[in-house]
């Protein structure tokens, strides 16, 4: 047994209102730079829908993740090492910018410097890739809220794999939101696909990162990740991915997406797992057994033997304590309501989801039934075959049983707690029906419905020799707010190394963002804001600093 700790997340889909706040705050923090305009470390997609990048789940086409080869051994679906090296000059399986979308901005300058004319001037969309006028035809959430359906929705790869005729009329279909970040997998196929070995899993907390100094831009990781959560920065020629906001979690603060989530539906905590068993579990023959296999890799932090092994593996005491208190562990193991996204990709994803009960509740309430009565709910869960098989396709490789069990537990909580809240005697039979005790149900309700900040986030801080958390916190603050440019090897005032913008040391993102914003507000052209100031981007202008070119230059007055 080799115990390792993993930072993991659970998202409670019932509470997601699809507001995209998480995506936007993440973007402001991490990918508000040129070269990553199209990059959404966090994105929220409407299901059914195509997802982002479109149809990424169609592994027949994109060949992400792992599969079992003829001998039953785990192999990269896109091909082994030799094949990867041979296709290195042009990767046939990499999505192009049109599979994401062509990012754009608006030509706001026309609004301020158009001559007097009969018609109102328009700010036209300009491509951020070519700088030319463009027609906006797709984006990261073009099919939001089933927009464009049933034409667009019909291309959802998950719907296709259910293989049933589905009514996609707005009135009759179901819908929910799926927020996605990198899964920080236990068996990351992105790392396995990287020819340079630049993608690594941190041994302390399992966060998967790209070493920007070792990445050489071979692009194989983009293919390797079945969730398409590695993005290629087309400006620097390097891969970038969600960092689980490691500078934040290192000092015990939740990720930006979690912190800002309007629905307060994200949970962060540690799970312990047995690294020696990952490969075996990922090689489980039947796809449908992968959910169970993935759970079996996790270790119980209350087990004294696990604790001893954890100590031997050098995991600090407070981390084990944090694992015991971890909401993620509780939701996966004690309440058994969290499921992994697409376990059949065999990467052992570590962002788990509580599937939404809302399709069931909605169908009951629209048909005029009491959507809080356990009998109605249990009946509907069994009757609503299509939403259940859809959820099963997402979370359990198509096996409806675990999904039905989870929904039953959520339904039980719903009707049990209604009685409690109305001051009535709760029906213990409801808890029994789903194999839980009344205490379990009330604890689960506290975690899911009341969801206090301290319960949602149990994040142990890192242990650094010779530095205390205060210093780390200071460093974080500095990385988030400081704009001084005197960091070691820094390029100075927003400049760059001698080989153009992308050379020199990697600029701290906060510094880069600062300059990007400043330049974009006043940049000359849409695409390359590196030049002289001219253009004003009202979206980025906070009204404080000067927006020089917002108004035409003042006429020089002759001194009398």
């Amino acid at each position: 047994m080799k115990v390792m700790a993993q930072m993991a997340m659970v998202m409670n889909l019932d509470k997601c209102i699809g507001c995209h706040t998480c995506s936007v705050t993440c973007k402001q923090a991490w990918t508000n730079r040129s070269g990553v305009e199209y990059v959404w470390f966090n994105n929220v997609e409407t299901r059914p829908g195509q997802g982002y990048p479109r149809t990424y789940q169609d592994q027949e086409r994109w060949k992400g993740g792992w599969t079992l080869n003829k001998r039953g051994r785990l192999a990269l679906r896109a091909g082994g090492r030799v094949k990867k090296l041979l296709s290195i000059f042009s990767n046939p399986l990499m999505p192009g910018i049109d599979d994401y979308y062509e990012p754009w901005t608006y030509d706001y300058e026309t609004l301020t410097n158009a001559p007097a004319q009969q018609h109102t001037p328009v700010a036209r969309p300009k491509s951020l890739i070519s700088g030319k006028d463009m027609k906006i035809a797709w984006s990261a959430n073009w099919d939001d809220n089933l927009g464009g359906g049933p034409t667009l929705t019909a291309d959802d790869p998950v719907l296709k794999s259910i293989g049933e005729k589905i009514v996609l009329d707005f009135e009759q279909t179901f819908m929910f939101y799926l927020p996605r970040i990198c899964e920080h997998c236990l068996n990351p196929s992105c790392a396995a696909s990287c020819p340079s070995g630049a993608i690594y899993k941190r041994s302390e907390d399992g966060i998967v990162l790209v070493d920007q100094d070792r990445c050489r831009g071979w692009r194989m990781c983009v293919t390797g990740c079945p969730y398409k959560k590695i993005y290629f920065n087309h400006r620097t020629g390097k891969a970038e991915k969600c960092t689980f906001c490691f500078p934040r979690v290192e000092v015990g603060i939740p990720t930006v997406c979690s912190e800002t989530c309007v629905g307060r539906l994200r949970y962060i905590g540690i799970v312990l797992y047995d690294a020696d068993r990952v490969l075996e579990a990922a090689s489980t023959p039947d796809d449908k057994d992968l959910y169970a296999a993935q759970r079996s890799v996790l270790l119980d932090p209350d087990d004294p033997e696990v604790q001893r092994a954890a100590e031997e593996a050098g995991i600090p005491r407070d981390w084990v304590t944090a694992a015991q208190r971890s909401p993620v562990w509780a939701l996966i193991n004690r309440f058994e309501v969290a499921l992994p996204l697409h376990p059949e990709y065999r990467t052992m994803p570590m962002v788990w989801y509580i599937p939404p009960l809302s399709p069931v509740v909605d169908s009951l309430s629209t048909s005029g039934h009491d959507a809080e009565s356990s009998g109605n709910l249990f009946g509907a869960i069994d009757a609503l075959r299509i939403p259940i098989s859809y959820l099963a396709e997402l979370f359990t490789a198509g096996d409806p049983k675990p999904v039905r069990d989870v929904l039953a537990r959520l339904a039980a909580m719903r009707s049990f707690m209604r009685d409690v809240n109305l001051g009535r005697e709760p029906d213990v039979g409801i808890a029994d029906a789903v194999g839980m005790t009344p205490e379990d149900i009330e604890d689960m309700h506290r975690l899911l419905a009341i969801a206090k900040y301290e319960d949602r986030y149990v994040i142990p801080t890192v242990h650094v020799e010779g530095a205390d958390p205060g210093v780390l916190a200071h460093r974080l603050e500095e990385s988030a707010t400081e704009c001084s440019l005197d960091y070691d090897g820094g390029p100075g005032m927003g400049g760059s190394g001698p080989f153009g913008e992308t050379s020199g040391g990697a600029t701290p993102i906060a510094v880069e963002n600062f300059h990007m914003l400043k330049q974009r507000q006043t940049g000359d052209t849409v695409v390359d804001p590196g030049d002289r100031s001219k253009r004003v981007n009202l979206l980025n202008w906070d009204g404080k600093g000067e927006a020089k070119d917002l108004l035409p230059p003042r006429a020089e007055k002759d001194e009398p």
Partner: protein, 245 residues
């Protein structure tokens, strides 16, 4: 040895070689972040799909050919029984295939760079200079060889260019040999020196990160969280009992 020969075949080559080596060391230490292929596949993949493998495999073969033709002395191949005639036929046929692949691939790549908007706007001045020198070197090499054979006077570079090139590494440059080579070969060699000097400062550096290690390393890389040294001025000062947020 005239002053001009001295300059062209001794001073310049050594300057270029020193720049080549020193440049790489310096760039690797200073600019690891900029050390990338800077792929443009995101912008355009249809032409790239054909052109890039054509060019790269072509040039790899051509480099292999150069290694055999230049670094291996003629006496060695002859001692293992490969006659000049046989060598010439093999080298010419393989070389021609590799050369044509390289040039066609390169032509397509340059066409793509010029005509596909996003690719063109991602092209830096540095890239343009590199393309000129690289293309000139390749085209000169191919044209000289082909012309020599078409006119029926193939030049045996293994008597001139090759010994000269090797002599550079013994630090006693044999300028007499290279001076006997036809003009085409001479220009090709000079261009190559220039290319070497330019190399470390362009995206050509990606040649040296060919990921051979991938064949043997374990799939998943684990790394410990780096202990970043505290920056100057931010060393911990508070005592543990005074900490707080």
């Amino acid at each position: 040895m005239t002053g001009r020969e001295q300059l062209l075949w001794v001073v310049l080559p050594y300057l270029c070689l020193v720049t080549f080596i020193g440049g790489h060391v310096w760039r690797y230490r200073y600019d690891k972040f900029g050390w990338t292929t800077r792929s443009s596949q995101m912008y355009e993949r249809r032409i790239l799909r054909i052109a890039s493998p054509l060019f790269h495999f072509g040039i790899l073969a051509a480099i292999g050919g150069h290694v055999v033709g230049i670094l291996v002395p003629k006496s060695w191949t002859e001692s293992v029984g490969v006659s000049e005639g046989a060598y010439h036929v093999v080298a010419l046929s393989l070389g021609a295939v590799a050369g044509v692949c390289t040039v066609v691939g390169m032509a397509l790549l340059i066409y793509r760079r010029r005509t596909v908007g996003p690719v063109f706007s991602a092209t830096t001045k540095n890239d343009k200079l590199m393309y000129v020198v690289l293309a000139a070197t390749i085209v000169l090499g191919l044209v000289t060889t082909v012309l020599g054979n078409v006119t029926g006077h193939p030049h045996d570079y293994r008597e001139t260019v090759a010994p000269y090139f090797r002599s550079i590494f013994w630090f006693s440059p044999d300028t007499a040999r290279i001076s006997e080579a036809p003009l085409g070969f001479q220009v090709h060699v000079e261009m190559a020196w220039l290319l070497f000097a330019l190399w470390p400062f362009t995206r050509l550096v990606h040649v040296f990160s060919a990921p051979i290690g991938y064949l043997t390393r374990p799939y998943i890389v684990y790394r410990s969280r780096e202990q970043r040294p505290a920056r100057r001025g931010w060393e911990p000062v508070s005592r543990p009992d005074q900490r707080g947020r």
